[in-house]
């Protein structure tokens, strides 16, 4: 399972890096999304991979081995929200730029042929 997750994150991140280096704003935003997915999964598995274990309990006794790490789950929730908001902001910027300059190139003008 570790290998599958590691490869998945790696592929997501690599695709994201390739896409943000492309010249069109739409490619850049998809790249940013893929990178943020990869990062979120990365944070999540930093609490170690566990199967079928709850992160919280109300009952005693509390034994750490029986639970998934709740901290990383809390962190990843925060990171998802913030990443989503900032990416949405970039989307607005992208559309503004398209409206002002008439092109979707990241430099705001088409490259010379």
């Amino acid at each position: 399972m570790e290998a599958v997750i590691a490869i998945a994150i790696g592929v997501l991140f690599a695709s994201g890096v390739w896409l943000i280096l492309r010249p069109r704003t739409f490619q850049v935003i998809i790249g940013l999304l893929l990178i943020s997915y990869a990062v979120n999964m990365f944070i999540f598995i930093m609490g170690r991979l566990t199967v079928n274990k709850p992160p919280l309990t109300l009952k005693e006794p509390i034994e750490a081995g029986l639970f998934a790490d709740p901290v990383t789950q809390a962190l990843v929730l925060t990171a998802i929200v913030i990443g989503f908001a900032t990416t949405a902001l970039y989307l607005v910027l992208l559309l503004t730029s398209r409206g002002l300059t008439g092109t979707d190139h990241v430099d705001g003008k088409e490259p010379r042929q």
Binding site: I20, T25, V28, L32, I35, S36, V39, N40, F42, I43, M46, G47, V71, T72, L75, T78, A79, I82, G83, A85, T86, T87, L89, Y90, L93, L94, T96, S97, L100, T101, V106, D107, G108
Partner: protein
């Protein structure tokens, strides 16, 4: 007294957040009211910052380190907010520059965008939060608040070139935030904690594989901070962004590069510098070399720039480079001198970016007028006729202010830039103190740094004087522009603060020395944070039950 002093720590975050929320609710048509509310909030913040500054230096808390436990959870379980001398200094600096930027924006910029006032307060909340948080993930959250507000502010007075610069700025910062998260996750995986003080304790007793993970995490995390503080080759976004931003926003951006430097200084000295000699030496050298490369990049860029906006950007890069190199050097005296340099250069560059708009009016009054009407698209009344006192002798004022900025940025006597560089050189050549060890020979790195700082000063003088001569003396049809008091006063105030720093150089540099000394005794900070008791009798929390 101590209880109320503790509550004061929360105010630099709480005040801007509350004022920002209130300002969102006020209608955009009540510009004067919104401006007044914003100004009251910022002035209250300044008062809070100065009080904290005074409290930390008087050591009302043990060792001058104040701790506020959010939601009454004891560290390391909850989020601790920590104020020491360095945080208080940075808070005060932030509030001073915020007041200046806000005053400057009175005439025009505060009306150029719908939510300028709320974004301004959110930006302050983010900056202040980064200065006082004691938790890595919380630091990320405050960083994002700061960045999100700065994205909005950068677009102020929507123009094609601003949108283009913002697109690059936003992408660079989003990627840097990803690195931040990866670094934080790795550190959590290695040490199992995100509280900075707890991390410092645990980092010292890690096994080999965990230690490797921690070091990788720290390196990835450093990429995020170094991007913020514009180290070469991560700082290419800076000159374009500064040149495109509206002047009051650019002044706040100058402050934001210093947030990166602050975090490096804090984490570096707290967690990594003390523990292992080999790691400390390697990454310290890397930081010094990176800072020196940044200096070279800034120097070349400054010599090659023709427009003032880019010159201000490269001056900020030079200031960052000097600071990074000094932080990497890590000696107590060097860091103390670097703090002096930090305050003086931030004030001067902030005054400079505000001055740019006024100086540009001499160069091309017609173009400035055109931009004025274009950007004031939402405003009915002509800004030229808006209320305010027009100050006389505008040319003399602009010339002298420009000259003072140039002196401080280049580091020539008699202003504070010279004293800062002098203190830095003295500390580099004689880190043990005056006449204690006359046989000490500075290493090659120190000599390189010395030479590069002097060369960058020379480049700054050449570049700024070239511009000054061309603008003030060699423009045949130069006409004195109309200046309003609300525009001239903030520039003058920032420069006067630099003058005060030079006149009161003794007390100021002794304060910086004390701040640096606190930083170099991380065990005091750690002990204060980890041993702070929860407030008894409020709510029974896990911490109290133990």
């Amino acid at each position: 007294m101590s209880f109320w002093a503790d509550q004061l720590i929360l105010l630099p975050i709480l005040l801007p957040l509350l004022f920002a929320a209130a300002l969102v609710l006020l209608s955009g048509r009540q510009q004067q009211l919104k401006y007044a509310v914003n100004l009251i909030g910022t002035l209250a913040l300044l008062a809070t910052a100065i009080t904290l500054f005074w409290i930390t230096d008087k050591e009302i808390w043990p060792n001058g380190v104040g701790v506020y436990l959010a939601a009454n959870w004891i560290a390391p379980f909850g989020i601790a907010l920590v104020v020491d001398r360095l945080s208080a200094l940075m808070l005060t600096l932030a509030a001073v520059i915020a007041v200046a930027a806000l005053l400057f924006s009175y005439r025009r910029w505060s009306r150029a965008g719908v939510h300028f006032h709320s974004l301004f307060q959110f930006l302050l909340a983010g900056i202040n939060g980064s200065f006082i948080t004691g938790d890595l993930f919380n630091l990320f959250v405050f960083f994002e608040i700061m960045l999100a507000a700065s994205y909005g502010l950068l677009l102020l007075g929507l123009q094609a070139n601003r949108v283009r610069a913002s697109m690059q700025y936003v992408v660079v910062n989003l990627v840097a935030s990803s690195f931040f998260l990866i670094g934080v996750a790795l550190i959590y995986a290695a040490a199992g904690t995100l509280n900075m003080a707890d991390l410092a304790v645990r980092a010292a007793n890690l096994g080999d594989s965990e230690r490797l993970l921690l070091e990788v995490g720290a390196a990835v995390l450093a990429i995020a901070f170094l991007t913020k503080s514009a180290m070469w080759p991560l700082g290419f976004w800076l000159p374009t962004t500064y040149a495109a931003a509206a002047p009051p926003v650019a002044a706040m951006l100058v402050l934001m590069t210093k947030v990166g430097v602050y975090v490096l200084l804090r984490l570096w000295l707290l967690v990594f510098a003390e523990q292992e000699a080999s790691l400390g030496a390697i990454s310290g050298t890397a930081l010094v070399v990176g800072g020196l490369l940044t200096l070279v990049f800034g120097t070349i860029g400054l010599l090659g720039s023709q427009e003032l906006g880019r010159m201000a950007g490269f001056s900020a890069i030079i200031s960052s480079g000097t600071l990074l190199a000094a932080v990497g050097y890590g000696e107590q005296k060097v860091v103390g001198a670097a703090l002096f340099y930090l305050v003086s250069s931030t004030l001067a560059v902030a005054a400079f970016v505000l001055l740019i708009e006024l100086v540009e009016r001499i160069r091309k009054p017609s173009a400035a007028m055109l931009a004025l009407t274009m950007e004031a698209f939402a405003i009915d009344d002509d800004p030229e006729e808006s209320a305010g006192v027009v100050i006389p002798a505008a040319m003399a004022f602009l010339g002298l202010s420009f000259f003072a900025c140039a002196l401080i940025i280049a580091g020539l006597p008699p202003l504070s830039g010279f004293l800062a560089k002098f203190a830095l050189f003295h500390a580099l050549l004689n880190p043990t103190g005056l006449f204690v060890d006359n046989l000490y020979m500075a290493g090659p790195l120190a000599w390189t740094m010395l030479a590069l700082i002097i060369i960058s000063g020379l480049a700054a003088i050449i570049s700024l004087m070239r511009f000054g001569v061309r603008t003030f003396w060699a423009t045949p049809d130069a006409k004195a522009p109309r200046l309003q008091l609300s525009e001239a006063a903030p520039v003058l105030a920032l420069l006067l603060l630099c003058v005060v720093m030079s006149v009161a150089a003794g007390p100021t540099s002794r304060y910086m020395e004390r701040a640096s000394a606190t930083l170099h005794q991380p065990q005091l900070y750690i002990e204060r944070v980890l041993s702070s008791p929860a407030v008894p009798g409020v709510v029974s929390t896990a911490g109290v039950e133990q």
